[in-house]
């Protein structure tokens, strides 16, 4: 019941926004999760408190996702030392498809396998790509759905990172 309510709140929050969308006010604390990435290392979201996290739901079959990922990889290189952590959540039906893609197009950040349960915990990931920007306190400050404006996303990340250092 709580899960349904949370989902309803998320839906209501984003109902006014069509297509590629983002919310700019902290909505709620990002649901915690813990699972191994494709390299076998544990990724526990709460461990990234104190960092700005870009959580990107993607899949190898999703064209816009594939176009975004080199940019995210570049951001991880560029801003990792300043406090950014990109985490990818593959929504492929099987890990093999994600691994096959990543072998051809490696990224510089961890990738975990997602599932319906994880998507639901974030209010429903009902289309890809979907990304969440999470601040140093673990609050979701933006949600991007569909083909994102990477310039805008980057500016938001830079703004969050600048708050960390000043």
């Amino acid at each position: 019941m709580l899960r349904l309510w949370r989902g309803a709140v998320f839906t209501a929050c984003f109902a006014l926004l069509n297509g590629p969308s983002f919310a700019t006010n902290p909505i709620e604390t990002a649901p915690d999760f813990s699972r191994n990435d494709l390299a076998g290392h544990l990724v526990h979201l709460v461990d990234y408190r104190g960092k700005v996290v870009l959580l990107n739901f993607w899949a190898s079959w999703c064209g816009p996702c594939r176009e975004e990922m080199p940019g995210f990889s570049q951001w991880q290189h560029e801003y990792g030392a300043k406090g950014l952590q990109v985490i990818g959540v593959a929504m492929d039906d099987d890990a093999e498809s994600a691994q096959k893609f990543l072998k051809q197009y490696p990224v510089s950040y961890p990738i975990v396998m997602g599932d319906a349960k994880l998507g639901e915990s974030f209010g429903g990931v009902l289309g890809l790509p979907t990304s969440y920007l999470i601040d140093v306190r673990g609050r979701i400050v933006a949600r991007y759905q569909g083909e994102s404006n990477l310039k805008e996303m980057k500016a938001q990340i830079q703004a969050l990172l600048s708050h960390m250092t000043h």
Binding site: C62, F101, L128, Q145, G146
Partner: protein
């Protein structure tokens, strides 16, 4: 000069990566589906809520993890149109149906022009001879264009 050369090299390598990644799993575009065979979300939502309207068979031809989170009431999961296994599941599901059966397929995994499933599923059903086939037009994704608009939805499995 050295920085300039490096910048050009970086730009070219990024361009090459974008082009090759775009080509990964290239599929037929949803734009190939004739507009006469499309049905818009409000029209389908109205059919679903109108008790006197005959209900078509609704098949989700996208990905399981999306269907499991939310789908149209009564919709059955019929496998992703982008792979051979998915098309086999779809073919098996309709194998015993008359060719004039009303069928609506949808995906909504990603923006319409990027959907890897819908055109292949449409082509398969068309090739099998179904002549009352409609495709739900989902411009952005199922979340934005259906769920967020308050149309009938089953959340969860």
């Amino acid at each position: 000069m050295k920085t300039y050369t490096h910048s050009i090299a970086l730009a070219l390598s990024l361009l090459a990566m974008f082009v090759s990644i775009g080509a990964f799993a290239a599929t037929k575009s949803a734009a190939s589906i004739p507009s006469i065979d499309l049905i818009q979300p409000p029209e389908l939502a109205s059919m679903l809520t109108n008790a006197s309207t005959a209900k078509p068979l609704i098949l989700q031809v996208g990905f399981r993890k999306l269907y499991d989170q939310a789908h149209i009431p009564g919709a059955e999961y019929a496998g992703p149109g982008s792979d051979a296994d998915g098309l086999r599941i779809l073919s098996q599901r309709v194998a015993t149906l008359p060719k004039e059966a009303a069928i609506i397929i949808y995906c909504g995994c990603c923006p319409w022009s990027h959907c890897p499933n819908i055109a292949a599923a449409y082509d398969k059903l068309h090739a099998l001879g179904f002549n009352h086939l409609k495709v739900l037009y989902i411009a952005h994704n199922f979340g934005s264009d259906w769920v967020d608009r308050g149309y009938p939805t089953v959340m969860g499995k």
